[in-house]
Amino acid sequence: MSKEEVVLLDFWASPFCGRVKIALAEKGVEYEHREEDVLGSKSELLLNSNPIHKKVPVLLHNGKPVCESTVIVNYIDEAWPSPPLLPTCPYERARARFWGDFIDKKIFEGGAKIWGSKGEALEVGKKDFIEILKQLEGTLGEKDFFCGDNFGFVDILLIPLTTWFYAYEKFGGFKVEDECPKFSVWVKRCMQRESVAKALPEPEKVYEAVVMLRKMNGIE
């Protein structure tokens, strides 16, 4: 088969889908985009392609499905090697994967403790979340991007998650820019990239969706 067929099963608000869209754009890969109704009725293709988790994103490359956003980003990097998203040296690659794992474990779940709770629990969630961002700020240091001069793997895993931060700020009554100014500079730097700006939703729209999620979960 001479023509590559790449399909992304997507949901506009999902930061995990955002990661895949950015990675594909960075590599210049053309793909067909299919929006899934994740809160309503999932397509047959989604359920067949991801029977274990039944979630987006799913990348279908010539019909073969790849699931789990971090796995997909790694796959995109290996299937289309240029330009590389990971550093070349094994130690720096391990560092990138370590922080990718940290981001996967801490950010979205940490944010859920803010939008998904109230009162004392929300305050604790907010405090913990800011601590997490400070750790990331620490590892970023004076660098432009997490692995140095070039936008790459860690930036791609993290930047889409920041579209949910406006919602956390509204519910938590804080501003990331005040707590972690260097982190905010990095966010703005990433958002200047075309691949990022085109892939990600407006934080205000995400906030509206989270308001709805909060109501659906009976937190008010």
Binding site: E68, N74, P90, Y91, R93
Partner: protein, 225 residues
């Protein structure tokens, strides 16, 4: 320059064992430093300030933490006897299954079935059986998850091969029934009997005592709430 390789581990950590197995499979020499997690060494805290956990691999003074990250580092640094396949799609599948093992199988079996009782345990058991069925299906036509020989996924899921029987004995129930999961049971035996694995397993009686104490403590804490 002589390579300096140190592995910080505990005697029982299944995550650290993954690293022991990988290094032995590759024939790489290393020094072991055993940690007492109730009294962590300054070195461990210095090398893994973020999580303060084992395993940590320190290669020529540079630390790497998180067992699956360490496995990939080992595979890229010592290229003989590869753990991950060459093909990008096969690599993606391996990473997917390793993640499934840690995120879902370990959670449902250890945190769900083993550390709970009564209705909570029953519910966790239903989930665990679903997860095990996915693993059973994945083994069709294969001896190991890696194919003909042990690979990345086998090392990631390897804890099942010995820990299941320990959990079953301590909790007093069957989790991997040979009739329900013939391929998985066969894999567990095949993996446990492999030379490198067999020679690098913590003593069973010590594991039983440790996990008995852990389960008792957890159930007591839950009951007193």
């Amino acid at each position: 320059m002589a390579e300096e390789l140190k592995l910080f581990r505990t005697w029982s950590s299944v995550f650290a064992l993954r690293i022991v197995w990988a290094l032995k499979i590759k024939g790489v020499e290393y020094e072991t430093i055993f940690e007492d997690l109730s009294n962590k060494s300054p070195s461990l805290l210095q090398y893994n300030p973020v999580h303060k956990k084992v395993p940590v691999l320190v290669h020529n003074g540079k630390p790497i933490a998180e067992s699956l990250v360490i496995l990939e580092y080992i595979d890229e640094t010592w290229r003989e006897t590869p753990l991950l396949p060459e093909d990008p799609y096969e690599r993606a599948m391996a990473r997917f299954w390793a993640k499934f093992g840690d995120d879902k199988v370990l959670t449902s079996i250890f945190w769900g079935v083993f550390l709970k009782e009564g209705k909570e345990q029953e519910e966790a058991m239903v989930e665990a059986m679903e997860h095990l069925q996915f693993l059973e299906d994945e083994l069709k036509g294969k001896t190991f998850f890696g194919g003909e020989r042990i690979g990345f996924v086998d090392l990631a899921l390897g804890w099942l091969a010995n820990m299941i029987s320990i959990f079953e004995e301590v909790a007093g129930l069957k989790m991997v029934d040979e009739d329900k999961f013939p391929l998985l049971a066969a894999w567990m035996q095949e993996f446990a009997d492999s030379p490198i694995i067999k020679d690098n397993w913590p003593p069973r009686d010590k594991l039983i005592a440790k996990f008995q104490a852990l389960r008792d403590a957890k159930l007591a804490a839950a009951a007193s709430k």
